[in-house]
Symmetry: C2
Subunit: 352 residues, 2 copies
Amino acid sequence: MHDRRMSEESETRGNRARQSRPTMADVAAKVGVSRALVSLVFRNEPGASKETRERVFQAADELGYRPDSAAQMLARSRSKVLGVMLTVRNPFHADIVEGIYPVAEQHGYDILLSATAPTRDERKAVEALLSHRCEGLIMLGPNMEARHLAELAERIPVVAVGRRFPGVEVDSVHTAEAKGVRQAIDHLVELGHSAITHIDGGKGAGSVERRRAYRAAMRKHGLAGHIQVLPGDHTEESGAQAAMALLADRVNMATAILAGNDRCAIGFLDAVWRAGLRVPGDISVVGYDDSHLAHLSHIDLTTVRQDPDRQAELAVRAVAERLDGVRSEVRELVLDPKFVARGTTGPPPRRG
Amino acid sequence: MHDRRMSEESETRGNRARQSRPTMADVAAKVGVSRALVSLVFRNEPGASKETRERVFQAADELGYRPDSAAQMLARSRSKVLGVMLTVRNPFHADIVEGIYPVAEQHGYDILLSATAPTRDERKAVEALLSHRCEGLIMLGPNMEARHLAELAERIPVVAVGRRFPGVEVDSVHTAEAKGVRQAIDHLVELGHSAITHIDGGKGAGSVERRRAYRAAMRKHGLAGHIQVLPGDHTEESGAQAAMALLADRVNMATAILAGNDRCAIGFLDAVWRAGLRVPGDISVVGYDDSHLAHLSHIDLTTVRQDPDRQAELAVRAVAERLDGVRSEVRELVLDPKFVARGTTGPPPRRG
DNA sequence: CCCGACTGCTAGAGCGCGCTAGTAGAGCGC
DNA sequence: GCGCTCTACTAGCGCGCTCTAGCAGTCGGG
């Protein structure tokens, strides 16, 4: 086998990419029908007998034929591809991506992923998607400026997930942040907490809304004097740092924490556990997202659920509607969050 | 602006993807030259005068022309696209992906990502990549059967990252697992540990090798009697469960843990911290991967570094070499792991 | 003045597919 | 016998581009 491959290589003078990729014509020839018929069969269009269909599929399978999406794109006006921009390291994005695949398939779309990373900004990620002929863009927690997004949205249907862009002509899917935060604060207050500190999400998706809602909820409960917002972002690191800051002054330490998101909450938990505090005995912690990290049994994080599958579904649908020309007005889809009380919240410690 | 889009939509009868996308022919017409010349100019090939080049670029700019990558792919034999299969939830994969982008760019390749997920198995992920005309495949921690991989590799250059496939004709990049494990055990033994338990990685990449190396290293140190392998996999959950199992019998509890990977170690840490144990005071923990989770300051995990950037580089290079026809024999690239002592290991507790 | 080489350009054949406009043949009523 | 419909299939153009072959025109050497 090894030898065979080597000889093939020399035969084809380095033009290996196509050395054996079968085409529709190959399948057609094998079955003894026309190329057009094979095309029909693969597009699942009527006009071929059941028997022929089976023979076509069988032949295709034997040859290892896969439709060439470049040729498909070129031939039909629709590429049937949606691009998804995400941050590879974000577990909540992972949850949404998992939800996107099945919904997209159901709508007849293929999915292309493009990651942002420290060395690869959002514009680069989007350009890659565009040059691959995506018809629509799903942007998970986009950080770009509103006007860039708006420019993009003029050229191609775009939906921003997890972040609001008020006044920008872009569809968006996000959670009613204020509501989730309010429920979380209500829960903590009910348990008896009053010193509730918020770890900020910085430039993260939804942070502005969560921060504002935190302040409002605290005031609503007459706890304006206890408002404390620690700087942070949506990483474990920032949660741990906030923990260190709090631990430096244990006497006046808050009895409960509302973290900017789950990752931040987990960083916080790690740090306080390590410092020997009991959760929720010494301090209560609430996250945000309910990413799969949160319901791991050993974390058992009280958090605010943002249904990722539902967000995925709505995002795909939003883009699909635009592409089908069903809708042209901007739509902001707001999901109800769901507060989930788990094991990291309880009554505040008694202080002597 | 909004209105403009709507009217365009109705004009083009829903055929929005191509509503006004200019082609090479448009540019050629505008400049008054042939399509072929425009093609030359855009490919930066010799054969056009400087003056003409400028006119072409100017016209293209005015028309907003962008080359259509689908048509390019179709027309030229090389697509210059590499496919990367990953598990979107795996932080170590995220680290590698981040390393792949710059190296690929440097080699002139574009990157397509395809994720596996519970609802989307590896074959599906790979099919998506293939139908998008990837010339080569980088598979991160593939779980598929060896013969499937072999079949794939017959058609297209494939490199498996993080997992060995002995006897299979596939390039691979992975770490010398045994060496890393040996160093970890040496370190623990030096610190005075003898009751060192391994949490198994199940079907995870490298698990078999790590388990075997653990046993060998223990025997080498005359600790065969202390060999203990707890079942697990590469998730936080399994680490936490192993912790629970150990905590059930504190008296005979191991003094040190070698986890299957970092995620598992972190799950373990969370659980023991939460149970009030001190790390490393009560128990030492070693991870594996040195993913970015490990060097977060609050985790500060002693672990075995598998350089993800280096793995990314070697993987891209391996595929690129195949594609350039430079090499045709199978290559197994084995990286030296690097043991990194951080804050989760120390001398064992004294027992009275 | 002719030959060859070189420059700057063009014609036209694909790449693999989708899709429209057909055709061939069977069945059926009258 | 005819027209009709219906099923099962085919021919062939075009999507936007790349790339080979080739064609005018210029220039320099013999």
